[in-house]
């Protein structure tokens, strides 16, 4: 190869050459939307037997009546694993000031040794011993359970890693056991296995991240198998949790997720709303401008000029 050849070769590599020759490398992403597939199933009414529908509260408060219930779901669309299982509560004020404060972060981390639990009132002591974990939030732990069966085979539900890692590692103690939880006269929500430390009680950890809005979803677990379209899934659930007294709905949600996360209508709605109102305002101002037109650099509306005009 001669020198000129080498030079030409080098020249060919330059961006300018590639541009003049229209040989710039290019890529054109073809965006295929990864739709989030969602199944929402409201079960709070259907799971109360017909006979008890008039007084649902006494039904749910009566421990002697079995609470099991089964619902069947139809999968409309192929759902790729992992499929997230959420329970959704409605009209439930986890953000209530009294509720939010009623916990003791120190106790959750350090356990029974920690005595400054006054914030936990009124669920603070049981037989003069501090309840672990204390407070209204823990006391009202959600306790409906779900099992999923597809074509007679149970779908495996992974209930690990549903809480934040930082919560598990730093907020909830590894040596704190809920030995006297829900032992009192008035039992609120779910119970905990006293042999498992709080850092592994992931349902509790999830529940104790209180939600900011009265309608919220919390993660229950993950199904790690794909669901095909037209699959029939039967859900066996224990309808234990009392939302009837305050008229809250309970829903079961199965959802896939995309790189943006799960489905969240709020953000989209907010964007649409802000965008639309900006557009309207823009139009209004444009009309105002057209109606009351003012040439560029016009000083007649400056306050000192305006006075003299009117005067």
């Amino acid at each position: 190869m001669t020198d000129t050849n080498i030079e030409r070769h080098r020249e060919r590599g330059t961006a300018f050459y590639l541009f003049t020759q229209q040989r710039l490398p290019a890529c054109k992403p073809v965006l295929t939307p990864a739709w989030v597939v969602e199944i929402v199933e409201r079960y709070d009414i259907e799971c109360v037997p017909e006979a008890f529908r008039i007084d649902k509260v006494s039904y749910i408060q009566d421990d002697s009546i079995p609470k099991n219930c089964s619902r069947s779901l139809k999968v409309h669309k192929y759902m790729k694993a992992p499929i997230y299982i959420y329970y959704e509560l409605d009209n439930y004020y986890q953000n209530h000031r009294r509720y939010v404060k009623s916990r003791s972060d120190q106790q959750l981390l350090h356990g029974w040794d920690y005595h400054g639990t006054s914030s936990c009132q009124p669920v603070e002591f049981n037989n003069d011993q501090p309840i672990v974990p204390c407070g209204l939030i823990a006391w009202s732990l959600f306790n409906d359970t779900f099992r999923f069966i597809r074509e007679r085979a149970e779908l495996k539900v992974n209930r690990k890693n549903i809480a934040w890692k930082s919560d598990r590692d730093h907020k909830f103690g590894k040596n704190v056991h809920p030995f006297n939880f829900q032992n009192g006269t008035l039992i609120g929500g779910g119970k905990l296995n006293p042999s498992i430390p709080l850092s592994d009680q992931e349902d509790l950890i999830v529940w104790m991240r209180t939600s900011a809005l009265p309608s919220f979803r919390k993660l229950y677990g993950r199904i790690e198998e794909d669901l095909d379209a037209d699959d029939d899934v039967v859900v066996h659930l224990m309808n234990n949790y009392n939302t009837y007294s305050f008229g809250g709905k309970k829903k079961l949600v199965l959802s896939t997720s995309s790189w943006l996360g799960g489905k969240n209508d709020f953000l989209g709605l907010a964007c649409v709303f802000v965008g639309a109102s900006s557009l309207i305002f823009a139009m209004v101002f444009m009309l105002l401008h057209l109606k009351y037109r003012r040439p560029f650099g016009d000083t007649s509306y400056l306050p000192w000029n305006r006075k003299s005009l009117s005067g």
Binding site: Y93, H96, R97, R98, Q121, L136, S140, S245
Partner: protein
């Protein structure tokens, strides 16, 4: 004599008769001593006597500081909590300790403490500075009489007691209000400078009672005992009522024997005085009022915003608590607990569904705290810091530093910075502000001949405007000025160096300069003169330069060095001074009655031309026409003119007049002043006109340029001056306030029909006619503007309004004021001539309130103080006329021309920056 100052006549007439009015008399006023309001008893020279000690008068310690160490914390805290926002934060901080609070106490306490602590620290530093000044004043030295050693010993001011005898030397301030006992002069007189009290830079004469004025010996003072019963401490500077009991005799005391703290001894070696009022009981301290606190538009707007935020906060909390109450009430209904997870069965009062309304109310309080972030607490602090920095910028501005007086600009209050950028109208004093207040004798007209060559700056600028070429016209001071004499800029070879002798009317010239040399109240100090107004000094200097040197004055005579025409040598001539009829703004003339060495009785007069021309005798009008013409020309050139006249008095006529005059002088009745005026008026007639003088009032540096720029920024400038119309208009032209393309609207009352009425003297008719005339003139002016507007679309010509003081009093009357302000607001320039200090303040207040615009007053003298305090911003010129205006001002600058930078640069930036900051804070809510 045209003076911008208002003369307090009462004190001036003190000078007229140094001897006659101190006889022991008993009048109604003096009978009051010892009664209510007149309870003070002073035992002179025995401050340690049990009687004196029993009265428990305080010592001469003075404190102007707002706080003491003990009361600083509570008092300044109280000051802080006068701000609504601070009270809110305090309440919130208190409540944050209860369980109502949605957050912990420190999160609200810390910012509150920082905010209040910072502002308190600033207050503390300012007060500490004041305290330093007090300490300095309290520790000044004064000599007091020590009865043990029979001599004067030094002590500190603060140690003086009521009844002490003190000795004050020349150029020293009086440590307290003193009764003059005797002075270094035989007859017990002394001269006092009171510019700190009333802003008049002239000297005032005080004299001791005859019976005490002989006490010159320190030994003889030992046995001096007297008891003074007098009025209680009060704030009236020019009145004093008291009685002295001395040698079993009663003597009435008057303000003429009282030396006030704050004034200064002048031209007198020393005086002896007895302390009457000490410390805070002195008249000057009784007069001290706290300067009005001024707030800027932005601050006021911000207050409104804060109130809006407050209401928003309350509204939000209310709505929140309403729904909270409803929800909480529902929690317990029909024996069921609705939201069981909140345990409504076992709850505190804050969430109790059975007492939902209480819970809702408590929630409301919590809400007030919770949403408290709506109230921007840090905004106040940030603004304070910002303003302090801005004042530093102003203080350090190199372009506002005056080399000659070594004075930088000084922002005395930092909280008006941004208001500088909002100024609509500048109200300016003339003398000392636009002009230098240095008068130069430039021209004169004697016996119908005009003397004085050269042109003034005003003439030059006028000529230039008329488009004349200035080839042969030389400005005065660049010419052959061999040696410059202050106050004298007169060049004419016909008069100077004794050449006047060869002029046709040399006898008139001689008389003319004799009047200048004798008819005045000037006091010679070495080779220089102390005068109450600079133009008076200019006259005496002019007479000296021509060859009539006034060199000595005492109570009864005036001595001149003068050239004797026959022998050609300089001789001393002694004029026996019989009476001085003072200048006043109402009389607009001054005269003296003297007996010359030839034993002739002469009345020598100088005064405003209009006044003098009215009083001429038939044979005295020979040169009236020419002189009038010259005066016209001089005032066109921006010069201040006075007419000079004299009259020979007959012996009989004089004796008769004097008798009546003395009775009037000593009558001590309410209409004494009127009586004296009437008598003075009676003798000042049938005058013979000698000529007229013209004195130049020099413009300050850079005034026309500055005014031009301010006018281009559409800032209206009002000149409030005591000058007469012609002079004011000419100064207006000289500094560019009036331009030739402007149309003038003149409102005055020098109309023939009103003058005719005045001659009749029917006051009511005059007033009625004046109101009608002013009303008509205002209407006419308005119509003129309207027509001009109609004729020229868009670029209407600008108008200048000129109104004189007399018309102003009528125009500021309730019925006319709106009409007048409307007219004034439409004019680019307003000149109020012949206005008094009180009118200045009234005009300022009216502009502020009626027009609702930001006003800036600028002035330099004590007569401007009320105007400065009245305006939104007061700017003091820290020039020669004492510090009174500066002390009352918000900003002090050394030269008028710095106003341009202060307003257009600093004001602009300060406003912009503060506005941006407030906007940023409020938008980040």
């Amino acid at each position: 004599m045209e003076m911008a100052r208002l003369r307090k006549r009462r004190i001036h007439f003190g000078k007229l008769c140094s001897f006659p009015c101190c006889r022991p008399t008993s009048t109604d006023e003096h009978a009051q001593t010892g009664q209510k309001g007149f309870s003070r008893v002073v035992y002179c020279n025995e401050p340690d006597s049990p009687e004196q000690l029993r009265l428990k008068y305080r010592r001469n310690y003075v404190s102007t500081a707002k706080y003491t160490v003990a009361n600083f914390i509570p008092k300044s805290l109280f000051e802080q909590f006068r701000r609504v926002a601070n009270i809110y934060f305090l309440v919130v901080a208190c409540v944050s300790f209860t369980s109502l609070a949605p957050y912990s106490a420190p999160s609200i306490l810390v910012p509150l403490i920082v905010v209040i602590g910072g502002t308190m620290a600033k207050e503390g530093v300012e007060d500490w500075k004041r305290r330093q000044q007090d300490i300095e004043a309290n520790n000044r030295k004064v000599e007091f009489y020590d009865r043990n050693s029979c001599s004067f010993r030094e002590t500190k001011w603060k140690n003086l007691c009521v009844g002490d005898l003190v000795k004050v030397h020349t150029d020293e301030y009086f440590p307290a209000d003193l009764l003059l006992i005797s002075s270094s002069y035989e007859d017990g007189i002394c001269y006092v400078e009171t510019s700190n009290l009333d802003g008049e830079s002239n000297l005032k004469l005080k004299h001791a009672l005859e019976m005490t004025s002989s006490l010159h010996d320190e030994k003889s003072l030992k046995d001096f005992r007297a008891v003074i019963r007098c009025e209680d401490p009060n704030e009236h500077l020019f009145s004093f009522i008291g009685t002295m009991y001395y040698d079993f005799q009663q003597y009435p005391l008057s303000p003429k024997q009282i030396l006030l703290r704050g004034s200064k001894l002048k031209n007198t070696h020393y005086i002896y005085g007895a302390v009457i009022f000490t410390g805070h009981e002195t008249k000057v301290m009784q007069n001290a009022i706290d300067p009005p606190s001024k707030r800027t538009k932005i601050e006021r707007r911000m207050d409104k915003i804060i109130y809006v935020l407050f209401s928003t906060l309350i509204l939000v909390s209310f709505i929140g608590s309403l729904f909270f109450g409803i929800e909480t009430k529902k929690d317990f209904s029909g024996g069921n607990y609705r939201r069981w997870y909140l345990r409504p069965d076992s709850t505190t009062v804050f969430f109790d569904p059975r007492r939902a309304s209480v819970a809702a109310f408590l929630h409301f309080l919590t809400g007030l705290m919770l949403y408290g972030y709506l109230i921007p607490i840090s905004l106040y602090v940030s603004i304070e810091i910002c303003k302090v920095l801005q004042s530093i910028f102003i203080n350090q501005d190199q372009d506002m530093y005056d080399k000659e007086t070594d004075r930088p600009a000084h922002a005395r209050t930092s909280n008006l910075n941004e208001e500088l950028g909002q100024v609509h109208i500048i109200l300016s004093d003339k003398t000392g502000t636009l002009t230098c207040n240095s008068m130069e004798f430039v021209k004169c007209s004697i016996a119908g001949t005009a003397y004085g060559r050269g042109m003034t700056e005003v003439e030059i600028s006028l000529a230039r405007k008329r488009g004349e070429r200035l080839t042969e016209l030389m400005p005065i001071d660049t010419g052959e000025s061999k040696k410059y004499v202050k106050g004298f800029n007169f060049r004419d070879e016909r008069i100077m160096n004794g050449q006047w002798v060869n002029e046709p009317h040399s006898d008139f010239i001689q008389k003319f300069f004799r009047v200048l040399a004798t008819c005045h109240t000037v006091v010679p100090v070495g080779t220089d003169y102390e005068a109450e107004s600079p133009d008076e000094a200019a006259f005496v200097i002019a007479a000296r330069e021509v060859g009539f040197q006034f060199f000595e004055r005492d109570q009864t005579s005036i001595k001149l060095h003068e050239l004797d025409l026959r022998s050609g040598i300089t001789v001393d001539r002694v004029y026996k001074l019989l009476h001085v009829l003072e200048f006043s703004s109402a009389r607009r003339r001054m005269s003296v009655i003297v007996r010359n060495p030839e034993n002739q009785l002469l009345l020598l007069v100088k005064g405003a031309d209009s006044v003098i021309f009215q009083r001429l005798s038939e044979q005295g009008r020979v040169f009236e026409a020419q002189t009038k013409e010259h005066i016209e020309k001089y005032s066109e050139a921006g010069l201040r003119t006075l007419a000079i006249a004299y009259r020979e008095l007959g012996e009989d006529e004089y004796t008769r007049w004097e008798q009546e005059f003395m009775v009037a002088k000593t009558s001590l009745s309410a209409d004494q002043d009127d009586l004296v005026d009437k008598l003075a008026d009676w003798i000042e007639r049938d005058l013979i006109l000698l000529g007229a003088t013209a004195v130049e009032d020099k413009l300050q540096k850079g005034v026309p340029e500055c005014i031009d720029k301010l006018a281009r920024a559409r800032i209206g400038i009002w000149v409030l001056t005591g000058d007469k119309r012609g002079t004011a208009i000419n100064i207006g032209y000289a500094c560019g306030l009036l331009r030739h393309e402007m149309k003038q609207i003149v409102i005055d009352l020098e109309l023939p029909e009103i003058e005719a009425l005045e001659r009749h003297g029917d006051k009511e008719a005059i007033a009625r006619a004046s109101v009608d005339s002013v009303k008509g003139q205002i209407r006419k002016g308005k119509k003129q503007i309207d027509e001009a507007k109609k004729l020229v679309n868009g670029e209407a010509p600008e108008f200048g309004l000129i109104i004189d003081g007399k018309s102003l009093t009528f125009a500021l009357d309730k019925d006319l004021v709106n009409c007048f302000m409307e007219l004034a607001m439409r004019c680019a320039t307003v000149i109020c001539c012949r206005s008094s200090p009180k009118q200045k303040a009234i005009v300022t207040r009216l502009v502020k309130s009626k027009a609702g615009k930001t006003t800036l007053a600028i002035g330099d003298g004590a007569n401007d103080v009320s105007m400065l305090q009245e305006a939104d911003i007061g700017v003091g010129i820290s020039g020669v006329e004492g510090m009174q205006a500066v002390m009352a001002s918000d900003f002090a600058i050394a030269q008028f021309r710095f106003l341009e930078r202060l307003l257009l640069v600093h004001g602009h930036w300060c406003y912009r920056r503060i506005a941006m900051m407030v906007k940023l804070f409020l938008s980040s809510l």
